[in-house]
C-alpha cells in the first residue's frame, strides 16, 4: 500500500539530516548542498519519479528548493487484482503528482518537506505557503 502522504491533499514532515551524509548507518540524505547552497531534495522512495529540474525558491526564511514528483499509488499486482475483480482503477488515478518543497540548513540536523497534491494546490499556492513558513529556534537543532 502506498504511503498515506501520497494520497493526501498535502502535508509537512520532518526528516533526518546529517552533513556527513550518513543517516542511521545508511549513506543517504534528503537534500543536496553545493558551495553552501541548497540545490536539490528528494525522498529517496521507490515508485517515485522526479520531474524536471529542482527550482530554488526566493523570499523564504530558510533555503528552500521545489521539486515536482509523481508517485505510483498502486503496484501492477494491485491494478491487476482490481481489474480481475471487475473494479478497474482508471488510469488517471494510478499516480499522484505533488509539489515538494524542501527546507534545510547545511549544518542542521533536520530537513522539512512540504508536499502539495497538484489536485488541490497550484504551484503558486504551494510557493506561497513555503514563503509563509516561520521556523523556531528548535527547528534545525
Amino acid at each position: 500500500m502506498a504511503p498515506v502522504e501520497w494520497y493526501a491533499a498535502g502535508g509537512v514532515m520532518r526528516l533526518p539530516y546529517d552533513k556527513s551524509g550518513v543517516i542511521n548507518g545508511i549513506m543517504y540524505n534528503h537534500v543536496t548542498f553545493k558551495n553552501g547552497k541548497l540545490i536539490s531534495g528528494s525522498n529517496g522512495e521507490n515508485h517515485t519519479l522526479y520531474i524536471g529540474e529542482p527550482e530554488v525558491l526566493t523570499n523564504v526564511q530558510e533555503q528552500a528548493v521545489l521539486r515536482e514528483v509523481e508517485h505510483d499509488l498502486y503496484t501492477a499486482a494491485e491494478l491487476g487484482a482490481a481489474e480481475e475483480a471487475g473494479n478497474p482503477i482508471p488510469k488517471d488515478q494510478w499516480t499522484s503528482k505533488m509539489w515538494e518543497i524542501y527546507f534545510a540548513r547545511e549544518d542542521g540536523s533536520a530537513v522539512y518537506c512540504f508536499f502539495f497534491n497538484e489536485k488541490y494546490f497550484t504551484k503558486k499556492q504551494a510557493i506561497a505557503v513555503a514563503q509563509s513558513v516561520q521556523f523556531t529556534e528548535a527547528a534545525f537543532q
Binding site: 520532518r14 494491485e78 516561520q134
Partner: protein, 119 residues
C-alpha cells in the same frame, strides 16, 4: 468534539483513497491513543525498574553497571527519545495555508513526524 474531528479527517479522502484503504485504517492514523499508550507503558516500566533511580541521580555509572551487568537502565533514554520524537510541528515551524485548508492531526509516521493538510 472527538467524533466530529474523526469525521473531518475523512473529508480529504476521495473515492480513490477509500478504495485503497478501509475507513478504519484512516481513522487510526489520526488517533493518538496508541502513542499515549506507548508512553504510559514506558513510564510504567520505568516505575518498577529500581535501576533507574541510581542512573537518574547521576551516581557513577560503574555502580549502576555492577547492579545490572548492562550499564544504566535504558528506559529513561527510551522515554526521552519518545518525547523528542512525538512533539507537534508547532515546536519547529508555523505556516499559513490557503483558505479552505487546515492542519490535520500530528502523524508520527510521516518521516520523524508531521501533519497532513485537510481540505
Amino acid at each position: 468534539m472527538v467524533d466530529g474531528q474523526k469525521d473531518q479527517i475523512t473529508v480529504y479522502w476521495n473515492e480513490q483513497n477509500t478504495r485503497a484503504m478501509n475507513i478504519e485504517d484512516i481513522k487510526a492514523y489520526s488517533e493518538s491513543a496508541e502513542k499515549v499508550q506507548e508512553l504510559l507503558n514506558l513510564l510504567g516500566e520505568a516505575k518498577f525498574d529500581s535501576n533507574i533511580t541510581s542512573s537518574d541521580n547521576s551516581q557513577n555509572s560503574e555502580s549502576s553497571s555492577s547492579n545490572t551487568g548492562e550499564g544504566p537502565s535504558a528506559l529513561p533514554l527510551q522515554i526521552n527519545d519518545f518525547l523528542k520524537k512525538n512533539v507537534t510541528m508547532a515546536t519547529y515551524l508555523a505556516y499559513q495555508l490557503p483558505d479552505g485548508y487546515e492542519n490535520g492531526y500530528y502523524t508520527a509516521t510521516l518521516g520523524e513526524g508531521g501533519n497532513l493538510f485537510l481540505y
